[in-house]
Subunit: 297 residues, 2 copies
């Protein structure tokens, strides 16, 4: 199985065409649901007493919730606004609420997970949590600007403790103080992780392993309405695909990246979580085929 540790949020998302108020979001939600198309996925996450029943039902339908906790207090709330081109998001509010005091632990039933995804959580928590698993075959983490700015040494330690890092291009540059993405990736691999995946939004991603670079384009879309969660969906689908194949050779990892691109493309086509909810496996397979045809020359 796959375990995903990350945030569940109530998101307020302001796009040029629509404002969503307190809708189900968060890195673990997007990553977990995307992964769930490929493998049984368990969640380690916390919400507050205000977490709506209908959102709980969505999670319960798709995910194993033995690691899901309801704490006294309010659910993590994020409020952000996109510019008219959807390329820049301004954060208006980040209310950590129950997330601020969450002490994650790995439920007994998850300890045998061979695949573990650590979202953009406190890097120290991520590095501690991964030790609680007995038999990890492939672990992957994300990180964000906030941790790079405030806990850079912990971020580097966390990177040392996982097999793969998935990170945005701007954050990779910020973390490594390099401009060139190959140099960024080399630095992270020197810190001790084997694989680095740099996400470039609409420009796709770069996978690095040893001396291998695998650049891949994003699936081209004409109508994008809400980029929220695309990167988390990418990461979830990528590790979910690997867990399903029970294989982490380079060829499988490349295919996993392609599946990441595909789930990322579903995510941005609809508002909030709608793009990745209730997909049919055949829809995903069809888009993967379409992707393969698109890039062939």
């Amino acid at each position: 199985m796959l375990t995903v540790f990350g945030s569940i949020a109530l998101d307020t998302i302001r796009t040029p065409t629509k404002v969503l108020k307190r809708v189900l979001g968060g890195a673990a939600t997007f990553a977990g649901i995307s992964a769930s198309y490929f493998i049984k996925t368990g969640l380690i996450a916390v919400v507050g007493k205000d977490f709506p029943k209908k959102y709980y039902n969505i999670l319960a339908k798709n995910l194993d919730l033995r690691g899901f906790k309801v704490d006294n207090g309010k659910t993590f709330h994020y409020d952000g606004s996109y510019d008219k081109t959807l390329s820049t998001r301004t954060t208006l509010k980040t209310e950590l609420n129950v997330l601020g005091n969450f002490k994650p632990t790995v439920p007994e039933e998850y300890r045998k997970s061979e695949y573990v995804y650590l979202g953009n959580n406190d890097p120290k928590q991520n590095a501690e949590l991964i030790k609680e698993f007995d038999n990890v075959k492939f672990s992957m983490c994300d990180t964000i600007e906030f941790w790079i700015a405030h806990k850079k040494l912990s971020v580097i330690k966390m990177i040392k403790s996982v097999d793969a890092v998935v990170i945005n291009d701007e954050e990779a540059k910020l973390l490594t103080k390099e401009h060139n993405l190959i140099k960024c990736a080399k630095k992270m691999m020197n810190w001790g992780t084997k694989y680095v995946v740099i996400k470039k939004g609409e420009h796709g991603s770069l996978l690095f392993y040893d001396d291998v670079i695998f650049p891949s384009v994003a699936f081209s879309l004409e109508d994008i309405v809400d980029p929220t969660g695309a990167g988390d969906s990418f990461a979830g689908a990528m590790i979910g695909y690997l867990a399903n194949k029970r294989n982490t050779n380079l060829s499988t990892i490349k295919k996993a990246v392609i599946h990441g691109n595909v789930l990322g493309s579903f995510a941005v086509e609809k508002f909030g979580l709608d793009g990745i909810l209730n997909l049919k496996k055949s829809q995903i397979e069809k888009r993967v085929k379409h992707y393969e045809k698109m890039v062939r020359f």
Copy 2:
């Protein structure tokens, strides 16, 4: 044969590591020399009396110069400075000099050219010049912000008069007033051109034809020293490859785009023109193979 109409410049290029003063540059120089690896290429261009003999010799070695003119006055001079990430260039001076009054004509010997590349010249000049060719099989033009801002209607007319447009992403957005690159391309195709190639620098390019989208990544490079001329090299190699194959079906055009990516990657590895000068054909073929291997999954 292929005819290239465009600027020859003396470039002053300020990069973080080196300043080049009045070195050989210009869109036609980069496009022409890149194309010359694939096909005999004739130049329609003008320089001033100050144009150094050593630069003339470089052009004469690689290109047919029956359309090359020396006018009274000084050669076009461009002066620009890159930021430390090499991603933004600030123009310090643009001295048109002899370029300002140039009246291009097609020499008798070029009129039978089946392939024609019109650089980022005055769009009216481009649209007039293309009519002077007797038997064009594939014509392609570029344009820049200056013409979009000052002669937008002429740019649209020019686009109608060619088979393909090659244009930077930011300029495509500016010209079409669309944010999404697919929408940008559709608008340009609606204006009457069959193919659109949107260049995205380090993120590669997108080729559009009818309902087909062909995204391709840039060749990944760790050491980039000077991005000058990469886009022109891309365009020159692309149309040079087509001219060599004497074929413009979609599959050949896709391969032409890959060759464009490859020559663009050579261009940025060294300063000024050095990256694309004196390449061996085997070096180009080797990098194409490397590219194919890099993107395979």
